[in-house]
Symmetry: C2
Subunit: 395 residues, 2 copies
């Protein structure tokens, strides 16, 4: 039995704690809950009663031997510090996404994980989605041939001003180190690099406060180039309704389109490169075989991912999202910010120190700058602990 | 009766000449054909016999009084010179797209048109497409509210190396002043600005010879920003099969998606901006009304556009594509090249002299540079004169 402590019981942590408490994850049990907010602890005590130990200071909790794995669901900036302290104290770590705000910190988390020999995983629950798994499987298998282009329009992350005002840390450089790319899109950026691999160059346009009264971006367009010449565009916002979630990938053997929970393949009989260079027609018409694959509603990916981490610890099952994966998607968003801030293309690996200098400047300017927004200081949490639906794949 | 002279009877000019000869355009007749290529003139003589006058030098033809309107279907670089000579000689002008290669020249064409008082129109046949007309009508009417984003993936312009090798002028800086953006996309760039208006800033990535052995771009991604903060992405290539033609536009009242010849609208009951700022939910679920509009196969837009120009001259019918429209789409592609070459965002109106300096440098480098491609010197034309299908809207 893996005993789990949840740190941070805002929206996500609350959902995880409830799932664990209900026994949704086989071989795991909720033993500790930690939050600096007394009201949240009160909620937890009413919900979980005496079956769980409660802490306001995670360092006190780390002195106990009441748990094996800590699930970190605090604001992003605290993930690296807590994770590193956990590894030092000899605990396994599963952290909410993003693993941290800057790549440099997430590198450190991975270093401490390796040194401690403890498990490190990221809550990339969307990796458990069958559509994405099937798509990755096909692409790894070469079904689409050599990849030429990816276009992902993922702007169904609609949020109201009420959402941004629901907690002081939200949508600020000091509170979470960015906007849509750091809060809503880590899953998509991860799935993108998981399926397509890492790009070579990034250019981006990030529009701050375009749709909402916030100081971070609620709209972003990333253009990426790969070493083989392939390119990709990633488009997101939190200000469009109804949004779109449409991923298109084209390769030398055809094209894949994922939309509305359906995966469509359009496959050629022979490699397009051969047609391109050997055809005696200017605009040949080739046979295309369309294949449509539908997927059923599945178990919540958060539970599946938690189950995977527990199975890894208990039975050595391969991790779906090992800690090192926390670096890759974050590399894309860090590089995108750096490109938007400097108005220049950013080559990977990028200058992480330079990114941190720019981010710190953003944070300082925010602290110095202008009128404060009319924010409620308390985060409003959904009481039912089922708020994790927010992070499911939405088609 | 409007008497028409066609200059340049390669693929497109041939199709126009045949359509006119067959009487497809009411109130118009083919009276002259001009081409510098003797073999093409031979083909024309065999096809049109003694009903038409033939010229190898358009200046000789301009001395006659055998026609009222000249339809220019030569390589792009010659459009401005011929058009200006035509206006000076007192003829109406309909030119194939693009009106020219650089905005500065097209401005001059428009100036001479105004001074001469003669009609000037561009063969923007895709403007006659019912789907685009309906979409524009709805957007002008405010059905989508204030526009936030446009994403057009238009990479179904597949071309083989055989196509590029079919004429020496193809896909070269000296021959046509660019690649996919100047040859394949003028229709799409025009439709884009026709429906959405002109952007304020352009950033672009143009990949030269990515899919083919050519020195110009066969792959391009344009990012545009509008004065109201809206953004747009335009993605094209001639090297993907099967390609995509999918145009998505989102606004404060909903979203429109055009794909596979079908226009889908997803409309909100109330303005999203009101929801964004007045909702007491973080992620509200709003009622969306989907509307699907299908369109039937229509008469060839080239004939419809020609008919419009003839009707304009004969009856004062409003021009679908007046000459000034030749400036706008070309402004987008010129600015996109300038952005790609300088690796900088380009603000509109852009520096046209600077663009011409860079283009001339490209042309010089191409003349100086490296091995010549193994090209056939003669353009191979389709004999049936029905090749204009290449420029129909393809879904």
């Amino acid at each position: 039995m893996v005993r789990i402590a949840v740190i941070g019981i805002g929206n996500m942590g609350r959902a995880h704690a409830v799932n664990l408490f209900k026994g949704e994850v086989e071989g795991a049990t909720l033993t500790c809950v930690c939050d600096t907010d007394k009201e949240k602890i009160e909620w937890a005590k009413e919900t979980f009663k005496e079956k769980v130990a409660y802490f306001e200071d995670y360092k006190e909790m780390f002195k106990t031997n009441l748990f094996d794995l800590v699930l970190i669901a605090t604001p992003h900036y605290d993930h690296p510090t807590i994770a590193i302290d956990a590894f030092k104290a000899g605990f396994h770590v599963l952290t909410e996404k993003p693993a941290g705000v800057d790549v440099e910190s997430v590198r450190k988390m991975n270093l401490y994980s390796i040194v401690s020999g403890k498990t490190f995983s990221i809550m990339y629950n969307q990796r458990t989605d069958s559509l994405f798994q099937t798509l990755k499987y096909y692409i790894d298998l070469g079904v689409l041939g050599e990849i030429k282009r990816t276009v992902w329009i993922i702007n169904n992350w609609y949020r109201t001003q009420y959402y941004y005002d629901s907690a002081t840390w939200r949508a600020s450089w000091n509170g979470e180190g960015g906007g849509a790319l750091i809060n809503q899109c880590p899953h998509n950026l991860d799935i993108w690099q998981w399926i397509m691999g890492m790009p070579d160059k990034i250019s981006a346009h990030c529009n701050e406060g375009l749709f909402h009264k916030i100081g971070v971006e609620d709209d972003a367009t990333i253009y990426a180039e790969y070493k083989n010449g392939a390119s990709a565009v990633f488009i997101t916002s939190t200000g469009e309704y109804p949004g779109t979630n449409r991923l298109e990938i084209s390769g030398t053997m055809g094209k894949a389109v994922a939309e509305d929970g359906v995966l469509k393949l359009f496959l050629l009989d022979e490699n397009e490169k051969k047609i391109r260079f050997e055809s005696n027609e200017s605009m040949p018409t080739e046979k295309v075989t369309p294949i449509t694959i539908s997927f059923k509603e599945e178990k919540d990916g958060h539970i599946l991912l938690l189950q995977n981490v527990v199975n890894h610890i208990e039975k050595g099952e391969e991790l779906i999202a090992p800690g090192v994966e926390g670096i890759r998607g974050l590399t894309i968003s860090n590089a995108a910010y750096l490109s938007a801030w400097t108005k220049k293309e950013v080559k990977l690996p990028f200058d992480e120190k330079k990114f941190n200098r720019y981010l710190n400047k953003k944070k300082t300017l925010e602290l110095l700058g202008g009128k404060k927004r009319n924010r409620k200081s308390e985060e409003k949490s959904e009481d039912n602990g089922e708020y994790s639906a927010r992070w499911k794949v939405r088609w």
